[in-house]
Amino acid sequence: MAAEAATTSIDEGLNEDGGRWKDLDKLILRPGTIVGDNFEPGPELKENLMKMVRVLVVGAGGLGCELLKDLALSGFLNLEVIDMDTIDVSNLNRQFLFRFGDVGKPKAEVAAKCVMERISGVNIVPHFCRIEDKDISFFDNFHIIVLGLDSIEARSYINAVACSYLEYDSDGNPSDGIKPMVDGGTEGFKGHARVIIPGLTPCFECNIWLFPPQVKFPLCTLAETPRTAAHCIEYAHLIKWGEALKRAELFGISGVTYSLTQGVVKNIVPAIASTNAIVSAACALEALKIMTDCSKTMSNYLMYNGTEGIHSKMTAFDRDKDCLVCGPGILIELDISVTLSKFIDLLGEHPKLLLSKPSITHRGNNLYMQAPPVLEEMTRSNLNLLLFDLIGKIPKDIIHATGTTSINGKRTSCLRKLRVIFKGTAEDVTDMDTMGAVYRFVDKDNPEFWGYPVPKF
């Protein structure tokens, strides 16, 4: 159908959707002068957008509800949404897909159903669970991930998952597996929308400092010298419920109310419909631009503040070249026969690493820990096992090593990201053999120990 349509111009009202996408068509079917590098307008692009592209929306709360609507009406007709929460009465002032009768039901399911009922042709698969409960392969299905979350931890997790698809060529340039993300967040009249294209733009971890740590009161203040209502509430939360008010009276502190108690204990942030709408719309528009190239993509972090006037500021943040999550890491090619113990020795000899006493982790599992003694003892038996077996016979994966190395003559502890490829497996990248920057770990007795080229000591 696409090929046929491509030869004739599309006539509004005569095409199969009866002019339904008349407005969107202007952006998707027409050539433009300020567009993305790979923009190829036409019916094929439209067909891809509506039939091929699969989007994962993480979160079905204030942002998630808006996102599902905005994405569906931007032509993304294949969506999935994941959220572990159920609907609460206090959601109803902004999460417009839910009604009083829905209180207690899973957000993802109600949201998906509501949008599918209103927008014909859209298909939304809900997942009522934590993102961590999904197998990593779950994320293989999606071309783009849009985040509507309120937690730093969840963002970090998804970011790591998306970045794990990233592959680098031997020059350390991203070559494949780019899974873009769009991330939104709001608090009161403020919010942000950002685009993360792993390998090309900063990932969430590259500028994690943008998210300030949450306020935590020192325990001694709470116990001995409380001064504010928040201190009394936090104390009661830690020690015993119902004592907050009594305690405040005892110390002559006013202001302990139910509303504040909820705010302090659950770290509830104020939330309104308009800010969620603004931030989600920005995210959905960027998703459309990323997937179709119909216009430029934002670069790369939009901050919005509506408290005094309308402040909308775009900042192009830089990547952290040494980012452990989205950086290339150091490529290491190994024989399947390498044991963990040998691998550790190799890290000490590798000219780019010179890591002494490294501890090794793989996907959060400790393979070998130098300290503390308990962990050392627990992991010691791994030393004689094959690394290939230890990481579950995955031909190519990321391994992290923590140890000390010498930087400018000074011993410094460091964490290194290693891209390990096992020779002779399906994933062995043969064309890399000729590349200069590849170091292949084989056997020490082998004259070609360092692969090609032979490094000079």
Binding site: S9, I10, D11, E12, G13, L14, D17, G19, K22, D23, L24, K26, L27, L29, R30, P31, T33, I34, K69, D70, L73, V89, S90, L92, N93, R94, F96, F100, R118, I119, S120, G188, T221, T225, R227, F251, G252, I253, S259, I268, P270, A271, I272, A273, S274, T275, A277, I278, S280, A281, A282, A284, L285, L288, S295, K296, T307, E308, G309, I310
Partner: protein, 531 residues
Amino acid sequence: MAEPKNKYDRQLRIWGEQGQAALEKASICLLNCGPTGSEALKNLVLGGIGSVTIVDEFKVEMNDLGNNFLVDASSVGQSRAKCVCTFLQELNDAVKAKFIQESPERLLETNPSFFSQFTLIIATQLLEDSILKLDKICREGNVMLVIARSYGLTGIVRISVKEHTVIESKHEHFVEDLRFHNPWPELKQFAESIDLNVVDPVIHKHIPYAVILIKLVEKWKEMHDGHLPLTRKEKDEFKHLIKSLMLDIDEDNYKEAIRASFKVCPEGIGSDLSQILEDGSAEVDFGSSDFWVMVAALKEFIANEGEGEFPLEGSIPDMTSSTEYYVNLQKIYQAKAEVDFLAVEQRVRSILKRIGRDSDAISRADIKTFCRNSRKLAVRRYRSIEDEFKSPATLELQKNLNDEEYSYTFGFYVLLRAVDRFAANYNRFPGLFDRRVQYSLKSSEVADDVHRLNSIAVGILNNLGFKAKTLYEDLVSEMCRFGGAELHAVAAFVGGIASQEVIKLITKQFVPVSGTFIFDGIEHKSQVLPI
């Protein structure tokens, strides 16, 4: 409504019961319920706005299903106003939702008094000509007007209100008025009752930094002919003075004192605030608003009892301290704030009497709120649309034209007006050719439209006082590509911004945008242009 309080919990944390009550009293009229208008209204209905009236003449067509969530397949052929209204009602049954199937343009001609019944009008997707008429009507009827429009990847939000005054501007990063440089007798006495040389280390590290600073400023002034530490060098010396009294480098209260040492020098009032005090409206008469009556009282207070200071806010920031010291300190600040408030109240009452109004016309609670926020007052005045067009703020705009970083937004500002002139001349938007969507940039009809639009834009530019012969050509071409499209994501953004400004105008909290907001959907470098 089972539990309205609970339902609005997350927003009450922002604008409080008073803000919510203002919203629930407001009546809003929306002109045209395409996605921009529908989305703006949706956000307000969710928040519990009092009543909404939708004016729209169209019947739902297929293309509405592609950009408007508030209609669905079963709506095709029915009144768009009715369908949107029905869905909005479903969102919140506490809101009174009505609709009128009528063209806003016709209503402007036949029944201009219709608009005066509302608190605020949200006008969406209206053309220049109608906006000019509507603005006049709204100004005459004292109805607030918010204009919103989405067009391809751009859009605009513009407020038109003669004057908007804000007491609760909710400024962030505001330095509290703590009077370290000039403590009143009770505060001075309290500071004097505490010995900084106390030997007990536990007491020493629980002396609040307010007390440390008050005592040390006093000491500093004695050593420096009554002057405050003003220069960088003096400020550093002052910090050293604080440091020298530490018993231990880990004393949090002293560390806080060093960090807060800049607070010993009064900030002085900003230009916005001094403009309010000097504003002609502060010369009050019978017709003056409560806000200006209170400003007049504030001026009198500062000149008399205040001895040059604003009324004290009365709150103090959290600081390392024993509970006893902290609570006592808080009480001293609160007591002074109460004294100042009573003085201002008395002045308000006598001014009211003087101008021939009931001396109790302004409530105590309102005066109290005013006193607590007297250093954060804000006033916004918006020129009429007609004035903006007739005598543009050329000099201010010139700055934006030279700003490379924001080149698109100024172009869009001109082009959004140019497409309306184009439509007035050719009875269609540029880039709309019969029913066809696809086109080639090289075709003569496209080139013609780009050329025509560019000439109109240059005409507007020249009227604005710019001598440019052409506008950024790629942008003109993009504008033709948009062909008047109302994309949902852009509409949701622009409508979202409009609804947020409406909330600020109605709750009289936070500060609405000062100029014309131009949305740049290409690079997301949106900007506020001076009116």
